[in-house]
Symmetry: C2
Subunit: 332 residues, 2 copies
């Protein structure tokens, strides 16, 4: 077994326990809730998700010395909230598919997608309040409102082509960083960990989430469609100001900058000038700059783990390191 | 001052304190959240709502001996969740207006309506968890999931014309009763009231909510458009099986029953045969039966208040009685 295989094996076992906690919960709901609702819950929760957020809860709790069944019960709430967000995102984007299957809005309709999202949202809050307690709920609901705020910032930023790196950072912290940070920190909270550990895991999660998003932005330009399952250029086509483009615009000379802005302002050009934009981003180091920032985030994340290395569960520290490095390596 | 005026004056003062708590909360959010989000929160929260749910929290808490500022802080969460539900309902129904103004989905778009609903949803949970504690959150989130379940039951019931009274009852308890019951019970919980008081206020709220819904169903057939602000016949046009129709179908002879079913099954007939359906419902006592059931619910509700009459706040008992009776009298 290679190191990577060993890491994956640990995660697989934890992921199976998280899935079991979710299935148990759905079974407990079955006698009282509508059959269609139950079917859609099943459809949207068991669709091949990697369970990253609940896994982080479990690992963080274990690092802080707790590893019982209740941790998995708590952890599932993060998959619920994540799934609720995806359900509403797919309605908002009128998405056709989600992980290779028809999206809930296409398969069951908009009404069902909105309502099932609301159900999962409420149930996730109930679980965190019940098992995690007051501090955990404050973090969790703060991440939920932060995600909405991130979406609003992104709406506001649409069409603003001189976006600063800091504006970009605010959006990705809201949209991706806060929930991942909350997963990490709540794992510590539920294990009764101290302020130092909470802080370390919160930073770890925030930086991991940001790096994840930056690599996502890179893959949208540089990904291999055979591996990612999506064609490149979607962000550009939508006029989304992601980090590679932001960095290139800041570095470009006046002529290239004006050319980029002209393409961005033109709906059709955005769809047809991908190669030209790619080359300009490359020319001005937008891709290397983005990767460098992601690497920097990951090195900050990994550094947080130092305080845990005196503990027993060195394997879990290794898993968190492995996850962090995986974010940089991933091709899909 | 008449009794009614006195009751209204008490409610007005409480409602103003609830509004103040909401405004204070929005102000506390202002430095950190997106401006558009803030504007939409303001638009959807301050639009002439009667604040029934938060008022019930405040009154129930006072009956159980608590009346400080924190109760109003807690109470506002019920208006938030209610507003979140209305935002998503209006998206689902593609509604043009809400209380005489353009709906958020029309004024600001679908994306904004969904996201603002999600924000209010999360914030309401955070508040109840923080101020109300674990029991309160379990009741509150249970009401939130119950509302979704009620919507699903209603979807399932669409087109089922032999609906039983009990199916109807399940839907209105989910859609309306549970949140009103939770408001009443959580008021008691936050004041440290006992199991007897909790039970009494839970039953009061459930019955009040059900009666409210039944009268709503009546007004959709019998209301005066000048007072309700809506034309009659919407439920029939949509094929919605409300109590007057359900009761009439159960009583009708075979010929009339078949005629009603023929109209219900025909999209165009439902829109044009209002008078005929009205007369058939009337012939078979659908309206009087519905009113009788609403009166019965209200008398059960009022009966619950007896255990509180040894307490100091007789005025609040009177307010709850007044509210219950108002539900039967209301014309809009």
């Amino acid at each position: 077994m290679t190191d990577t295989e060993r890491l994956l094996a640990v995660l697989r076992e934890d992921a199976a326990r998280i899935d079991a906690a979710m299935r148990e919960d759905l079974q407990s709901l079955a006698p009282t809730v509508d059959n269609l609702l139950l079917e859609v819950l099943e459809y949207s929760l068991f669709n091949g998700g990697k369970r990253i957020r609940p896994l982080l809860v479990v690992i963080a709790a274990r690092l802080s010395g707790r590893d019982d069944d209740e941790v998995y019960q708590l952890a599932k709430a993060f998959e619920y909230l994540h799934a609720a967000t995806l359900l509403h995102d797919d309605v908002i984007d009128n998405a056709e598919t989600r992980r290779g299957k028809p999206s809930v809005n296409k398969q069951y309709g908009l009404v069902t997608a909105i309502l099932t999202g609301d159900f999962l949202h409420a149930r996730s809050m109930a679980i965190v309040g019940q098992i995690g307690g007051r501090d955990a709920l404050a973090l969790f609901s703060g991440a939920a409102t932060g995600m909405v705020d991130g979406e609003f910032m992104q709406l506001r930023n649409a069409g603003i082509y001189n976006l600063s790196e800091s504006d970009y950072h605010d959006v990705i912290i809201g949209k991706t960083g806060m929930l991942i940070a909350a997963a990490c920190e709540i794992g510590v909270v539920c294990a009764g960990g101290g302020a130092l550990e909470r802080r370390a895991m919160c930073v770890y999660g925030t930086e991991l989430g940001c790096a994840f998003q930056m690599i996502d932005d890179l893959l949208d330009y540089q990904g291999d469609a055979n591996k990612t399952g999506k064609s490149v250029g979607n962000d550009l086509a939508e006029g989304k100001m992601t980090l590679p483009l932001i960095l290139a615009l800041h570095q470009a000379d006046q002529k290239d900058r004006e050319r980029l802005l002209a393409i961005l302002a033109d709906d059709s050009a955005r769809r047809h000038a991908f190669d030209e934009v790619y080359n300009l981003i490359d020319k001005y180091g937008g891709f290397t700059g983005t990767r460098k920032r992601a690497e920097n985030s990951i090195s900050i994340a990994v550094k947080q783990l130092e305080i845990f290395t005196e503990r027993v569960s060195l394997q879990d520290v290794a898993v968190l390191q492995g996850l962090a490095e995986y974010v940089l390596r991933r091709e899909k």
